[in-house]
Symmetry: C2
Subunit: 331 residues, 2 copies
């Protein structure tokens, strides 16, 4: 089987690809099937995965010709992660609509035209919620996005459900919590700070926190979200509700609790590197996001949250060490 990961040059896309390479198979029409190829489509060429099964393709996800090139009738597993992130989609309305709405629709249309009903795992977001929310968000809480990004993700979910109902795809949408700790550089997501206030300090660098330390964040680790993508793909069709959407389980922490955990794991010096620099634009977006969820459905479907934030910080530090070691060995 062939696998397509859109947004495949991004951190989540590459981490998912690495996991799939290691695993070697995914559930298919006739039980487990060997993965022969993983196509990583993104605006830039995906780097850093050294395996003959990896095929990086650079291009625009809203360009139908590109999408037709990366989806063949053998592409039975599609992970649709490509997106313009929340801060950028809010600042550049046209770009957000083109990539997040037109891109998703183009991908679904090409699946439909190919006619092989692939499994499509769509990375949605808790940004579909917003405004006046209950203390705890339930599966039954209505969608009231307060950002263009959240609107585009909600529309994507509706399209995935309808294309599934019509038999064009076998779709599954996951509403991702904020993924912490993302390695690498800050990105254009309004939630970028949530990783930055851990990643930079443990690497000896100062980090600006644009929100008050009482701000709550609904968190899932990179390790768990990659597990969730694979699990979402491998679940049988009948395990999904007709909406085809699930809120992934996470854990809720305030910025203060995150920083305290970092202090326990990485020492007080790291804590002293966090500087609070209020940013009204970021606060305006982040404050519309919910921070507490009940996720019985996801848990019953076999999705798992992290145990605690200390382990997330520890995992991050270990994988950074591993990456450094690997770089040294290559050099």
């Amino acid at each position: 089987m062939r696998v397509l990961i859109t947004g495949g040059a991004g951190f989540l896309g590459r981490t998912l690809a690495a996991r799939l390479l290691q695993r070697g198979h995914l559930s298919g029409a006739s039980g487990d099937e060997r993965i022969d190829r993983i196509t990583l489509a993104d605006v830039v060429r995906a780097e850093g995965l050294d395996d003959p099964r990896i095929e990086p393709v650079a291009g625009d996800i809203a360009d139908r010709a590109l999408v037709e090139r990366v989806i063949t009738s053998e592409t039975t597993a599609i992970f649709h992660l490509a997106a313009v992130l929340s801060g950028q989609a809010e600042a550049d309305f046209d770009l957000g609509m083109r990539v997040n709405l037109d891109g998703t629709r183009t991908l679904l249309e090409v699946c439909r035209a190919t006619g092989h009903c692939p499994r499509v795992v769509f990375a949605s977001s808790v940004a579909v919620y917003g405004g006046t929310l209950p203390e705890v968000v339930l599966e039954s809480t209505p969608l009231t996005p307060q950002t263009s990004y959240g609107t585009e993700k909600a529309i994507g979910e509706l399209l995935v459900a309808d294309y599934t109902r019509k038999g064009f795809i076998d779709g599954r949408s996951l509403r991702l919590p904020t993924i912490v700790v993302r390695p690498g550089k800050p990105n254009l997501a309004a939630s970028s700070f949530a990783s930055g206030i851990i990643r930079e300090p443990v690497a000896g660098v100062e980090a600006a926190c644009p929100v008050p330390d009482s701000t709550g964040v609904w968190i899932l680790s990179p390790r768990r979200v990659v597990e969730a993508f694979v699990h979402a793909h491998d679940l049988p069709s009948g395990a999904w509700p007709t909406t085809r959407v699930v809120n992934l389980p996470g854990i809720t922490l305030t910025v203060r609790e995150m920083i305290d955990a970092m202090g326990r794991v990485a020492g007080q010096e790291a804590v002293s590197r966090v500087k609070f620099v209020p940013d009204a634009r970021i606060q305006g977006i982040v404050k519309t996001w919910p921070v507490r969820f009940r996720t019985e459905r996801a848990l019953a479907m076999g999705f798992r949250a992290d145990g605690d934030f200390d382990s997330i910080v520890r995992d991050h530090m270990e994988s950074e060490e591993g990456a450094k070691r690997e770089a040294r060995e290559k050099a």
Copy 2:
């Protein structure tokens, strides 16, 4: 001011236009403003409204050039009624997506480009609900459309809300109950029978009812829905929730109760003209629609339901009589 009604050649569009001609004004930036022109855009040329203020325009709502022609900076009131109806959108997926999704987006984009933030009243539908629903649908019930039409309307609502939030339009979405009694011919809505089982029999013609007589229908009369469009437009922006959507109030009747009311108003002979001819396709669509609602928000905002179904039948018969008289006088 100029008014645009898309779907302006349809029954609701023409009835709304007639009401606006009679009224002569709508609320604008500086209080009540005189209506100078009402553009009726539709795939066919709108007929039957004899007034110098009426401008019929035939064209495709998904064609940007057409939409640019009918929206100028003076077009401060837009009623967006154009749609491929439920039965047809289910049978022709591409047509439904093009008109109901691309058409709505084109209209919103032209408003945005014009830059004058017009009031846009969007005709949505209770078809945004579906699947396993509570006994009574509340404002807080999540959207789970089970048809492409419902999906496209839900997406339209999300776009109207986001374009409003961004300041591109001042949008208001109304989820319409089934409109009964529509005059004229059956249409391609799956709900067409709900008017047909009254309209045909009182005109002395047999009518086929494709659903069992226990089927419930959530009903609003043509008179009340036109009132609702005008009221939705004239309400100040602050009267709307951030979702910009309201479920219009209606009344719930079973097909049997509708037929009984017709018997009381039009006699038993009319009742005998209803023939039950089961249609699995129609039943499959209709059974996904909710039939009971709590609409406190709409009532608090000043929207009104009909008193009873007998008056709806009586109103329909009187307006048919009026139309015949008018035709005779013209002849």
